[in-house]
Symmetry: C2
Subunit: 274 residues, 2 copies
């Protein structure tokens, strides 16, 4: 492998909008299992309040889907993440799957650790990284986080903040449970702050497979929204403080479904050949 090629090489990222089918056709998890192949699939439960439950659940599903070797990467706190055995786990993995929960639990445990360095290195070497719900959101350089309990009142859905994600993919802000939690406003608010970034909102039981060439395909039952702010001609986002209403002219919006895709390089949607 030349230096040039090594620098540009990276793995495939599978981003899932949460609540993916675990009992029926399991289209999305089957794809994760297929790509893990005969290697080891590591299930990372860092986001979860109930890591053992999540591990047991995904262990069962992925076993049923034919994955032979499964390992659990769990850590209650940052102090557990320094365990060198976890780095060793990643070294042996062909795929790493992040469960849902709270994305800040992922970044606050992993940020600045040798384990995150190992994750990035493995990804750069071509290892598959997948994440569902919070596990998908965490993959961007910037990451959306809700303030307070959004489910109980989506009238305050606009209340969000951004923080740093794991940075496995740049120029992409990833949101999940998209239609189900009515998150278009916060995604558009996020791209208003930096129109160079693409916003991607993934519905439940829906995923995107982002290949190393920068193109992704949509998989699953729901829709994937792409909000592109590159052509924005006016916004008040830098002028407003908390109580103000955002304005934003000329966002390009694409609604993608299974069988379509998007090229991050050209910023164009496409219909996948059947």
């Amino acid at each position: 492998m030349t230096v040039e090629r090594r620098r540009r090489a990276r793995g495939t990222l599978i981003l899932i909008g949460g609540s993916e089918d675990k009992q029926g056709g399991r289209m999305i998890l089957s794809e994760v299992a297929r790509r893990a192949g005969d290697g080891t699939l590591v299930v990372a439960t860092l986001a979860s309040e109930r890591p053992d439950y999540q591990w047991q659940r995904y262990q069962q599903v992925f076993s049923e889907l034919g994955v032979k070797r499964l390992e659990h990467l769990g850590a209650a706190g940052r102090e557990d993440v320094v365990d060198p055995r976890l780095v060793k786990l990643l070294e042996d993995a062909t795929a790493i799957f992040f469960t849902g929960g709270d994305q800040v639990k992922i970044t606050s445990k992993l940020g600045g650790t040798p384990l995150l360095t190992a994750l990035r290195e493995r990804f750069a070497e071509g290892v598959l990284v997948a994440g569902t719900s919070a596990g998908a959101s965490a993959m961007g350089e910037a990451m959306l986080v809700s303030r307070g309990p959004e489910e109980t009142s989506h009238k305050v859905e606009g209340a969000f903040y951004m923080t740093r994600g794991l940075g496995l993919v740049s120029d992409l802000i990833i949101d999940q449970h998209f239609a189900q939690r009515a998150r278009i406003e916060r995604l558009i608010g996020a791209i208003a702050e930096n129109p160079g970034v693409l916003g991607i909102g993934i519905d439940e039981d829906t995923g995107v497979i982002l290949e190393p060439d920068g193109r992704f395909h949509v998989l699953g039952a729901g829709a994937v929204y792409i909000a592109d702010g590159q052509g924005v001609t006016h916004t008040n986002v830098s002028e407003t403080s908390g109580g103000h209403t955002l304005c934003l002219f000329d966002v390009a919006l694409h609604v993608l479904n299974h069988g379509t895709g998007f090229d991050l390089g050209s910023r164009r949607p496409f219909r996948a050949p059947v």
Copy 2:
């Protein structure tokens, strides 16, 4: 007035996203009151399950806002609408305000009646017509209606159908309670079916004042979403049946706030001069 001018003349339309402020600064209702001037403001409660309550409420608010002459246009069913006294009510009005409720109650009572003809004639002569919530939705040629109780589960928000509205404004599909009820999907679904139509989603306590020249200004606390499908390059809307997920490439989306506006002729947003 020349024939040419008469044919093109029309009134001003004020469309409100529902739940407009009735006790504080009352910015939007004040504008309705101001434009009613010294004439008669007719409050039409056709959409409401509780027409007398609505009439009393708006009668009080508009009285407090200085409207001297107020009349109630109520009708429990289509049989009441044929009453020629109602046509007479409209003849004396300088402004007509439609309350919220169910937009199908408006169109099913008014459709094909002399009262609707009178309403259109008065509007064409320059009378102000305003509507909030269902009363706003009813003003388009096509009108969005939910199937079933959307508030209890916005997971089925995609379930909607379209029917004919009152047709005071063409090429516009109007939705209301927009952010509050997470309706971007149904608005985009509606423009997918006819990309020549503009979708406009109005938040609660927010309104647009559409002047006879085809330009509107935004007024109030929330946002107004404009979804323009004219540039759409691909959609599957004609191929899909109930269970499928919509796809749609290249929607132009504008998020407007107080102090901005939109020109329906050029399909361009603008910042209003302060």
